[in-house]
């Protein structure tokens, strides 16, 4: 069992921790692709916020491969997935009568949260 001793705290905190994985995983989406967030309601951990579920957006960029937190929280297993910045209009999220329907919301979402939009 590893122990964090007082003399190492500064170093550990400065270094931080990244969830980025150095793995080659084929990306399902590319910037510009139309997607829809899945409607999932798992009892476990998820990083897909409720207000984005079943909403239509566009892939803005691909951040690369990261540890999928839903599985990591459940089993500790580090499975790599592409993480995308997905752009949603306020109108898509809150309806056409949103205060500012043209505002854009970018949400970092894992590939398995997303479906290709037909």
């Amino acid at each position: 069992m590893s122990v964090l001793t007082a003399d190492r705290v500064q170093e550990v905190l400065r270094k931080g921790g990244s969830a980025r994985l150095d793995e080659k995983v084929l990306a399902k989406f590319k910037p510009g692709d139309q997607v829809r967030a899945r409607n999932i309601n798992p009892i476990g951990h998820t990083r897909l916020p409720r207000y984005a579920r079943d909403k239509h957006g566009v892939i803005d960029c691909d951040h690369g491969v990261f540890v999928f937190p839903d599985a990591h929280a459940a089993t500790g297993e580090k499975t790599g997935q592409h993480l995308y910045s997905v752009c949603f209009s306020a109108a898509a999220l809150w309806g056409e009568d949103a205060t500012r329907p043209d505002d854009l919301v970018h949400i970092d979402l894992f590939e398995s949260y997303l479906l290709a939009d037909e």
């Binding site: 069992m1 550990v12 951990h45 916020p49 409720r50 984005a52 990591h72 929280a73």
Partner: protein
């Protein structure tokens, strides 16, 4: 999980007004809560996402009426219980001891 932490889009909380020059810790116990969480996390019996899940699993009414580091301590207690580091009785006993000390 659909817990109280997932606040996006909810009404009634009012505007977000970040405090100017807010201290890192508001109370001395928050400093301890942070340190203990960090120290206990370093042994590798759980990971960051498990810690987040433990905090999210707080009863929604309690979650919304307690502070950030109270969420941290709740999550830590849950993990310590789950992984067998502590028992419910030991936590209760310690709380009783501290309450007694404070009275005297």
């Amino acid at each position: 999980m659909n817990g109280a932490h997932d606040l996006g889009g909810m009404h009634g909380f009012g505007p977000i007004n970040p405090a100017v020059d807010e201290p890192v810790f508001h109370e001395e116990w928050e400093r301890r809560a942070f340190a203990i969480t960090l120290a206990m996390g370093s042994h590798g019996k759980w990971n960051l996402d498990m810690s987040r899940y433990a905090r999210e699993s707080m009863e929604p009414g309690e979650y919304l009426s307690t502070s950030y580091y109270e969420h941290w301590i709740h999550g830590l207690e849950l993990l310590l219980l789950e992984k067998g580091f502590l028992t419910e009785d030991e936590i209760q006993q310690r709380m009783t001891d501290i309450a007694t000390q404070e009275k005297t």
